[in-house]
């Protein structure tokens, strides 16, 4: 690696100042599992690494059933799935956190980092979209909130402007008969980047037979993670059955624009969008009815 400086910020303001001063020559590092590889391989460039794991606000998380989940952007994955209440309430998030890399990666990698890396194939992002998570961003002019669904702008790129830092993610409180699932297709059983990933979230009606609300999001089939809004809207009012989920899968396929690359041919990925959407919705429904 070329010579590089390192600074650990101890507050959000300190981090924002460092980032604003150095602009695109500074890169934030939480778990480091993406950025260090990219810096070594020359995929990203920086003169300064700003370590954000010493910022208490970014390393904390708290869950209150009435207020939802507040998740610091640097919190490592293992703490998320390791918390039984959070894993139960935000199960697609826990699904994703459990399968980003192997255990050694999950000990360090953060959901915030996965989001800011902004890969179209990122495992956490469909889950975040499905859970309707909101990004809290701090910058030189203060703080702002952005829906995760709007955060990524292009492969590897996102909304963060010079000096801005993702501080935390907020998830709305969970209501009865809600369930969520993140599923991905990979050729092995672990350690692969998603060929196709699907985050699905459902709220069922009081008889748990009909879908009252739904969100579906897709990974690895477009230049950025794809909020399949039309599919979510179509699902409302439909019975929570396999036939519905299958049709939803067909509709999701219409929105996907996969490319052929070393992780799979486009035609196959398109087919998988249908299969994995159906399965993810079925998984979400099962969790919704089991509560």
């Amino acid at each position: 690696m070329k010579e590089i400086e390192y600074a650990a910020a101890h507050s959000v303001d300190e981090a924002v100042d460092l980032l604003a001063a150095r602009g695109d020559k500074a890169r934030v590092m939480a778990g480091g599992t993406d950025i260090l590889v990219q810096l070594r391989e020359g995929m990203r460039d920086a003169d300064l690494i700003v370590d954000v794991k010493k910022i208490p606000e970014m390393m904390q998380f708290s869950y209150d059933p009435a207020r939802g989940l507040h998740l610091g952007a640097s919190v490592p994955c293992y703490k998320i799935y390791g918390d039984a209440k959070i894993a139960a309430a935000y199960s697609a998030l826990a699904d994703a956190a459990r399968i980003i890399g192997g255990w050694q990666i999950q000990s360090r990698a953060s959901i915030g980092g996965n989001l800011c890396n902004s890969s179209p194939a990122a495992d956490s992002i469909p889950a975040l979209i499905a859970h309707d998570a909101q990004c809290v961003i701090a910058g030189p002019s203060g703080r702002r909130t952005v829906a995760v669904a709007d955060f990524c702008t292009a492969p590897g790129r996102n909304q963060l402007a010079r000096g801005e830092l993702l501080v935390s993610l907020h998830f709305p409180p969970v209501q009865p008969r809600e369930g969520a699932r993140y599923l991905r297709f990979i050729p092995r059983n672990e350690m692969d980047i998603a060929v196709v990933g699907v985050g699905a979230w459902l709220r069922l009606n009081d008889k748990a037979e009909t879908i009252a609300a739904a969100r579906v999001a897709l990974a690895a089939v477009a230049p950025k993670p794809l909020a399949a809004t039309e599919v979510g809207e179509w699902l409302v009012g439909k019975p929570a059955t396999d036939a519905t989920f299958s049709e939803a899968g067909a509709r999701a396929r219409k929105l996907a624009k996969p490319i052929s690359d070393m992780r799979g041919p486009a035609e196959y990925r398109l087919h998988l969008v249908g299969v994995m959407t159906t399965r993810a919705l079925a998984g979400a429904a099962e969790r919704a009815t089991s509560k």
């Binding site: 010579e3 480091g32 590889v37 890399g101 192997g102 255990w103 050694q104 360090r108």
Partner: protein, 161 residues
């Protein structure tokens, strides 16, 4: 020229200090500065687990941790797994069950397996395979490694009772 940083940390229960550049990984520091060469570089990008160490209680790929991040931490490497007088049951079971052939992945597996058994003393075969999926082995086909971890878990349970 970027100045080296002074880092104070605890490795295998001993207070350790070293100098390193920001770009040095913890793996490089362990191997090249501290001569703890048990952790190995297999890929340098977090895909093989040969560099696994335990950092503040969790297994990590030391190739993806910077040396400077070790400040104030507690680190366990393969060199710290055995006690002064005995091999750890994992090490003994790896030997008895012939769970190594070339041995290059062995330190990473033993450290990861120790973290596993510390957290889950009675793992199923699936649990073991899932948690060790981040450790690649090319020689053994994993069969004897899994059996060694199972046998070590049994020994540790016995030792407790």
């Amino acid at each position: 020229m970027v100045k080296k940083s002074h880092v104070a940390t605890t490795i295998n229960g001993e207070a350790v200090e070293f100098l390193c550049e920001p770009r040095h990984s913890l793996l490089e520091v362990l191997r090249d500065t501290l001569h703890l060469t048990g952790a190995k570089e297999g890929c340098n990008n977090g895909n093989c687990g040969a560099c696994t160490v335990i950092l503040n209680g969790v297994p990590v790929n030391s190739c993806l941790v910077l040396g400077v991040e070790a400040e104030g931490s507690e680190i366990t490497t393969i060199e710290g797994i055995a006690s002064e007088s005995h091999l750890h049951p994992l090490q003994q079971c790896f030997l008895e069950d012939a769970a190594l052939q070339c041995g290059i992945c062995t330190p990473g597996f033993i450290v990861a397996a120790k973290a596993l058994l510390d957290r889950n003393p009675n793992p199923s075969e699936h649990d073991i395979r899932f948690e060790l999926a981040g450790n690649l082995c090319r020689c053994t086909g994993y069969d004897k490694i899994i059996r060694a971890v199972q046998d070590a878990a049994a020994v540790l349970q016995e030792n407790k009772s």
